[in-house]
């Protein structure tokens, strides 16, 4: 009898804890970005920020070693692929020098650098987020530095992602490779618009909503479309087309986009203080 009563009490306690969890979930949804729970989240992240900065310096090399061991096979294949590519690029280099000079002159005249005159905040990547379900990194800048949720994050190569969480001294950047990331994009050659979506770490991005009859060239540049209400300014490089094609009967192409940003080696980024125009 006593065992039965105790078991009933235990189940009631677990029910209460589950109910408390559901209440927290509901409060989080209702509070949105400004709720008390979000403040608690920001506070916790700020509290841990100094420890994370220190630990990032200490444990970073450990991660590099583990990554080197587990990715050894991939590295060998990548090395061979890069050697071949280097040889091809050597030939291209001479031909492209003249074009590059011309491009630089044009950029200098028209100021067409992809960040343009958008104010930016430089930031350092502190660590990756402690989750297995998101591709995101933590940077050492927050609201105190003028960073806000939704702002685009770029490297010198191109678009890296956007700010998804922010506290006073830290921000979380949702990378383009995140499975829930979607960016309005344009094929630079044809001018056709589509959406670039993440497919997880270490894989190409996918460009969708491009009709099957559109001609897409391998190597064609993909940039942000910057359409009205877009979360990103126009013309930021995203990547280049690695492969494209529509399976028979499909109305849409399957386009694999190789990102220009090396997400495995993100160290310094810039947060563009930019908000979508209405």
């Amino acid at each position: 009898m006593a065992v039965y009563r105790r078991s009933k009490r235990h189940r009631f306690l677990v029910f209460l804890l589950a109910l408390a969890s559901v209440t927290v979930i509901t409060l989080d949804y209702r509070g949105g970005d400004q709720g008390a729970l979000e403040t608690l989240r920001s506070g916790a992240q700020d509290l841990l920020a100094p420890v994370q900065s220190f630990a990032g310096r200490v444990f970073g090399p450990v991660g590099d070693v583990v990554g080197g061991i587990t990715d050894y096979g991939d590295l060998e294949a990548e090395n061979a692929r890069l050697r071949q590519r280097l040889e091809a690029l050597e030939g291209d280099r001479l031909r492209s020098e003249a074009g590059e000079r011309e491009r630089r002159e044009l950029l200098a005249i028209l100021d067409l650098d992809f960040a343009g005159d958008i104010p930016a905040v430089a930031a350092r990547v502190v660590s990756s987020s402690p989750t297995n379900f998101a591709q995101s990194v933590i940077i050492d800048r927050g609201t105190d530095d003028g960073v806000d949720r939704g702002m685009p994050v770029v490297t010198s190569a191109g678009l890296a992602g956007r700010i998804s969480e922010v506290s006073s001294s830290r921000s979380v950047v949702q990378l383009l490779t995140d499975r829930s990331s979607a960016v309005g994009a344009r094929l630079a050659g044809s001018g056709v618009n589509g959406v670039v979506e993440g497919r997880g770490g270490g894989t190409d991005l996918a460009m969708t909503f491009v009709a099957a009859q559109v001609e897409v060239a391998e190597g064609e540049a993909v940039v942000t479309s910057g359409l009205e209400q877009s979360a990103f300014p126009a013309e930021i490089p995203i990547g280049s087309v690695r492969s494209a094609g529509a399976p028979p009967g499909d109305l849409e192409q399957r386009i694999a986009v190789e990102p220009v940003v090396d997400f495995g080696r993100l160290e310094l980024v810039k947060v563009l203080q930019w908000a979508p125009r209405g």
């Binding site: 969890s21 927290v24 989240r41 990032g56 660590s127 987020s129 402690p130 499975r179």
Partner: protein, 182 residues
Amino acid sequence: MPAAPGPAAVGDRLPGRARVKLALVLVTLLLLHTTLFVELRVADVMPDVMLLAAVSAGLVAGPVLGAEVGFASGLMADLFLATPMGLSALVLCLLGYATGVARSGLHSAPRLFGFLAAFVASAVGVAAFALAGATLGEAHLLSGHLWVVMAVVAAGNTLLAPVVVRAVGWAVGGPARMKALA
């Protein structure tokens, strides 16, 4: 690795000192989770010691403490995730409870039961988190990558289980209880 408790150990109230020790263990695990283990990724997946804390509590102290520790460790983990706050708390609370119930149902733990429990419970916990998240609108959690996450988290947590189970056991009962549980 210490074995798990028999039914007699299940559901006892913890003295205040043990709760302080348990809080200390959880904070330490959270610090390691957010600093060291984020760097130790295999196939882009890190072990989940906050989940392992809930499983360990269920193993060494039974369903009630398993649920309590799961709730606490889940809430702590939620502070650093973009998924809805309370989601990990809910999943880990139920996982800790289920682990404790499974363990208390066995009169004596078979050899290597702790490792097996850590492996299975970790895989189930990851799947449950993804399913619960997808139910709440986080559809991207249910991708083909989920199998990889389940496998790597289960393997990583199994390797870490001896340490985490010992730490939780130290906090909730000290060496005496751990011996009794072996």
